[in-house]
Symmetry: C2
Subunit: 347 residues, 2 copies
């Protein structure tokens, strides 16, 4: 299946609201034009010279999930648009900073913001998008959302941001360590990936229904999906095909990423086998042959099955939470479709 | 005069509220302990090994101004504590990122966060402090501040953050340019320095009085002070004594900072004199002799008098706005003292 049938009715309203969140050149003094160009570039609307671009800004999964949850919980998705956009901007703010931290030179087949404008201005681009995200969320108050609910949503969103930064801190600090436990890894991806997806679903439902308990179930649904999605990404990073992922096979091994399958393998291995895993991840660089060797070791140790089982557990738990939330109408059906599309993906 | 008589009655309440804004080790899983250690280190509470420190966290001018404005406008300063702390945290978040962008290795006589923990984790430290600042602001709702006022304060604070990041963008982009106008410079320091000081005074008064018009006057007072303060800093950066500033004489010339006196001189100079200014600021490095030469040229061109006059104009305008706001009681008197202490400083 493709996602278009799920997302198409939201896309244009969402893009309009997104564009309204970023100041236009006409409304900013000339020396600031390049500042907002960085943000528009990252969101996929212009190329680095400022020429209009097709949509290269990502799949907008989080805001779509937010709008679906709002409708499935009985609300009008238009009311939740500022929230959906705030979440998408926060996600993109973290991507801009992540790319600096990881020294990533490309994202979505284009040079990253820092690669074009330098690290200093890349930091500013992320910081500006962070502040604009919160400003956008506060527009909920102009859409007849109760001020006390706006404050509450803002608290949840900022708690989520704190968790996200904690997750990014853990991810970076794990690079220096060989003693990361499976629990610590799960706690890292919960923060770095799952909480924002959970927050999108939870707050969408909360704006739609003002029912805190139902919203919490949507939040658990989103977090479970996020964890399953990340573990699936970990599996593809080792066993995925270049044809599907657009990356070399075993790319995560090449980059010595301590993902779930690797950490499971490291824990399960002993003696000579364990040494080989440690050696490959400690060396300054790793050969194609070593990548294949690590992959074979992890396969033999059952790391793929382990990770698949974990993804399945979290996915099924997520679906149970969704059913408990009693999602309504077409949006409810679409949430199930979205979940299966995201978790059934091969890239 | 010293500031202690003005600040002493707020200091302990303010520090308690600041400490409550940063999660304690007891409340965070162990792998996150070093994350919050970075924040506590930057705020001056611990050294880089985690040992408790005396107060090395700065003068807390912005939060004190905020609390004084709250009281002078007729409020109870305790109600404004979450706001004052949010402003101090936002200020410190920008310092952490500025130090990365400027590659500054020391702040307040200690190594900067990025210098100890690296740029990637330094970015995280700033991002985390940014999110914690907004979370702290939202505690206003727990202090009997109306939710709609909390939303409004949050909008103003986030608009301020957008301006601040714009100012930082301009400051960095001016480093690459020799055609910066005096107007563009003023617009940069307005954003980078003045808006947050203005916001501290404005929102303090707004929480204290719920009177938007009076609060706006406090805001103008704070912005005027901020601009005057920055220009005074520019003057000290060229003509200050090492004894007073703790920096080499002419340090801003040594660092080729395009401050107001330099830009005025560049505009006023012609022929050979102009070439010398341009050459000194275009070369890869600048000798002590060149620093002296640039300083003498700027002195001869009347750049110091020009800057002093500008600072005076903004300072007097600030004081007029303050009187229009009719500040009450001891706090009102203290605001005048604070202004004269900040603007009469030699370092």
């Amino acid at each position: 299946m493709n996602l278009e049938s799920v997302t198409s009715r939201y896309v244009s309203g969402l893009e309009d609201e997104l564009r309204a969140a970023i100041p236009q050149p006409a409304n900013t003094p000339e020396p600031l034009t390049p500042f907002y160009a960085m943000l528009r570039y990252h969101l996929g609307w212009i190329d680095e010279k400022g020429n209009p671009q097709g949509n290269g800004g990502g799949k907008r999964v989080r805001p779509i999930l937010c709008l679906l949850a709002c409708e499935a919980a009985g609300g009008n998705y238009r009311q939740a648009l500022p929230l959906a956009v705030a979440i998408e901007l926060l996600h993109n703010f973290t991507l801009i900073h992540d790319d600096i931290q990881d020294k990533s030179e490309e994202r979505r087949h284009h040079p990253t913001v820092w690669k074009i404008w330098g690290e200093g201005q890349g930091i500013n681009a992320g910081d500006g998008m962070h502040a604009l995200a919160i400003l956008t969320l506060l527009k909920l108050a102009e859409r007849n959302v109760e001020p006390s609910l706006v404050v509450e949503a803002n608290v949840r969103l900022n708690q989520t941001m704190v968790s996200l930064v904690e997750g990014q801190f853990l991810d970076l600090s794990f690079e220096q360590r060989m003693d990361v436990t499976l629990d610590q890894y799960m706690s890292m991806i919960e923060r770095k990936t799952a909480v924002l997806i959970g927050c999108a679903a939870e707050l969408g439902a909360y704006v739609g229904s003002a029912d805190r308990d139902a919203a919490a179930k949507y939040g658990q649904f989103g977090r479970g999906m996020g964890i399953a999605f990340q573990i699936q990404d970990d599996i593809l990073g080792i066993w995925g095909n270049t044809k599907d992922t657009g990356k070399p096979t075993g790319d995560d091994i090449l980059q010595r990423k301590k993902t779930l399958p690797f950490l499971y393998g490291l824990q399960a291995a002993a003696g000579e086998t364990k040494s080989r895993l440690v050696d490959a991840y400690s060396a300054k660089s790793v050969s194609d042959e070593q990548v294949r060797e690590v992959k074979d070791i992890l396969t033999d140790l059952g790391a793929k099955e382990y990770a698949e089982e974990q993804a399945k557990v979290h996915y099924e738990e997520a679906l149970r939470r969704l059913e408990e939330a009693k999602p309504q109408g077409k949006a409810g059906q679409d949430l199930r479709l979205l979940a299966s599309a995201l978790l059934g993906r091969t890239r």
